[in-house]
Symmetry: C2
Subunit: 433 residues, 2 copies
């Protein structure tokens, strides 16, 4: 595809008007202020009229539980423990592998609708999740949760077999779109032996790690009580987990020393502002983390605590909540916020050649229709993207050069069927409860 | 218009499937689970196919500065005082009456796009603002700001002449769509004599009042220093302002005693979560105010601090920020949040017969297309409205029975021209600075 005469946000997220962007073999092969020569232009195929549009890097969702679309609107307005124990866990016990496929597929459809092409996921029945991401044409870092409630080591846990199988069957599947990560659900759902085993397993195989860290004050404080004053960050560091490239989700209650560790060890922090606010967990110290050099990315979390996968809305929320929580309007810049939702998210998934608009990058893009009334005036396009625009302004989403969403259509999947399946499966589960 | 076979949120914001809603002479004349009889059906005119749609009350924006669309994206990432003094005030000094017309018109267009039919506005050149609201077919409670930096009484201030003129020429204009309110900009921009005069003026004429209250900590604390410990709430109460029906915008720093006063005096509080977070002002104690019976409504504020007029996004933000700030997932219910953005907003504007879907109410409605992936499953439609849906899902907005927005079109105004005018006028002003 050749995007002709289109405005864009370049590899530095700087605005450039009237550009031509050529996509070939899944990559961005041309960016320039004039059309490529005729022969080269033809090699890009379809010419896309870019007037009145803004091309920018696609979003990467750094923390999700994709099958939880099934739970959207089901568990509301409850304290966290009641939410989990009385509603979420009983519901999840009824979810079949096939349910996971459809729940994940609807998440992929929703993410693509709002410009997102890749997500990091923690759940179970991950083969089904991967199948959905492959079908939808998007990228997924999947991870099956390590849960160890007694003194078990990794070899004694079912997740070991799952990890062996997932890495054997799915690592790098679909031209690298599928990446298998390791996963420690959380400190309070594991034991030190299992965590250390998993860290060694991941290190040996060069795998990345996903983990929940200090989401709630209770979790943070109880960890210190259990582990001689170690916070979750220091606990995981002491067990070698951060020897592997790690994405730590939430980090709402991290202290200053934790932040130093996260920065020094290059840990990615997936902020989940919507979920943290909705569940009353608090506000992650995003501004302080950015200031100290922590690589902050952005996640939507599960749909029982958000309740949509619109990364552009969460980007707005990331910026607003960072400023609000710090009582400081300079707490985060539009560029920092947008980088968290795009390039840093891609890097958190080990996708070095993704998340920016430049020659040589993977063609993971979205195009925004900026004709809506919220985009005028265009005094500062980047500010408009972060604060004024809407995810619904996305009119085209491309992943590895393939169109996964365009003008109300998802060319690779049957979105109507996915909605109907999720609706029916949710009804079935709710009926069983 | 007869909305046929449509799902809706009724006068209690409860969900009802497969309803018929008939609109005649600007009012809702029929609501039922079956079609009206043939003769009556014909009296409603066009039949609207409601399948796959959700009809709900329109939004009322309880605090705005509509002409500030001109400043969208202009003043960013600065501390409040520098934001005001270095960027906002110099820009505003260049705004002409005609600029105000176009800035307000674009705001009306944007609000209608996202389901909002009425707004309370504080600015200047209010005749021009009213003209824009009339042209756009929406409702406006306009108010020209009282600013009194020395010891002047109301008679010595230019706003007196403006108030006399506005109430004479515009009170109740356009079939009651235009309402003229009194306005005290804030404690720190007025003096007690002028405030007391204005309160008496408003009381005598039965006018409503709009006022900024405790937006920032500095304002709140300095007021106490200046006025023998009186907070802005108690200061205004002592001057008789709350003898008139009042909407107090922001109320971020109000204390427990303030909240008691606001509740006892029936003051409407317009929460502005986006603006308060973006400017780093803090979080209003929304949960506590609701608990104590304060009538909380919702505003978008000006476009230099939000930066869009999407009330549905701000509704999401109201709910999330109330829960986040209180560290309590039960801090606000979906119904409380939605009522703030609809019925309570209408009441804050003195519009008793607006803001709900029921026979006899004004036909101020919006229709949402719920086919998008964020709306599945529909386990709890009200929760989906507050947390999952998007303002962009609004496909029809009706004010007093007239369609002001439908499927990408604004039938009453030339939206393309409004955008072009605002873009050009902003360029002119920025060029002059």
């Amino acid at each position: 595809m050749l995007f002709a005469d289109i405005d864009l946000l370049d590899e530095n997220l700087d605005f450039r008007a009237h550009q031509w962007v050529g996509v070939r073999d899944g990559h961005i092969a041309y960016v320039g202020g004039a059309a490529p020569e005729e022969g080269e232009a033809a090699s890009f195929g379809e010419v896309y009229d870019g007037r009145g549009k803004l091309l920018m890097p696609a979003f990467y969702n750094a923390h999700a539980h994709a099958p939880m679309t099934l739970l959207r609107g089901y568990a509301e307005d409850l304290p966290l423990q009641a939410w989990l124990n009385d509603l979420v866990f009983p519901f999840e016990a009824k979810i079949t592998p096939e349910d996971c496929y459809w729940g994940t597929l609807l998440s992929c459809i929703e993410m693509a609708r709002y410009g997102c092409v890749g997500f990091s996921d923690m759940y179970y029945h991950m083969e089904e999740g991967a199948r959905a991401a492959i079908d939808a044409g998007v990228k997924m870092n999947l991870s099956d949760s390590l849960l160890a409630f007694d003194g078990e080591g990794l070899d004694e846990l079912p997740v070991k077999g799952s990890l062996d199988r997932l890495t054997r069957d799915l690592q790098g599947a679909a031209d690298g779109r599928i990446v298998v990560d390791c996963n420690v659900h959380a400190e309070y759902t594991s034991n030190p032996r299992a965590v250390a085993d998993l860290a060694a397993y991941a290190k040996e195989r060069g795998l990345r790690v996903q983990v929940h860290v200090s989401e709630t004050r209770l979790e943070h404080e109880e960890c210190k009580e259990r582990h001689g004053g170690l916070t979750p960050v220091r606990y995981f560091e002491s067990l070698g987990l951060f020897d592997c490239p790690t994405t730590a989700a939430h980090c709402v209650w991290v202290d200053d020393e934790d932040i130093e560790v996260l920065a020094r060890r290059g840990v990615f922090v997936a902020a989940n502002p919507a979920s943290n606010m909705k569940l009353g967990s608090g506000f992650a110290p995003v501004s302080k983390m950015l200031e100290r050099g922590v690589r902050v990315c952005l996640g939507t979390d599960g749909m029982a605590s958000n309740n949509n996968h619109d990364m552009m809305q969460d980007l707005y929320l990331l910026a607003l909540s960072a400023k609000g929580a710090a009582c400081d309007p300079t707490a985060i810049s539009p560029k920092q916020a947008l980088a968290a939702a795009t390039r840093t998210g891609a890097l958190s998934q080990g996708r070095e050649d993704c998340g920016y608009v430049g020659v040589g990058a993977r063609a993971d893009l979205c195009v925004l229709d900026v004709a809506g009334p919220s985009w005028t005036p265009m005094t500062n396009p980047l500010v408009n993207v972060v604060y004024a625009g809407h995810g619904a302004d996305v009119c085209l989403t491309m992943c590895d050069g393939r169109v996964v969403y365009r003008d109300g259509q998802w060319p690779l999947v049957d979105a109507e069927r996915a909605k109907a399946e999720v609706a029916a499966r949710t009804r079935r589960i709710v009926g069983e409860l």
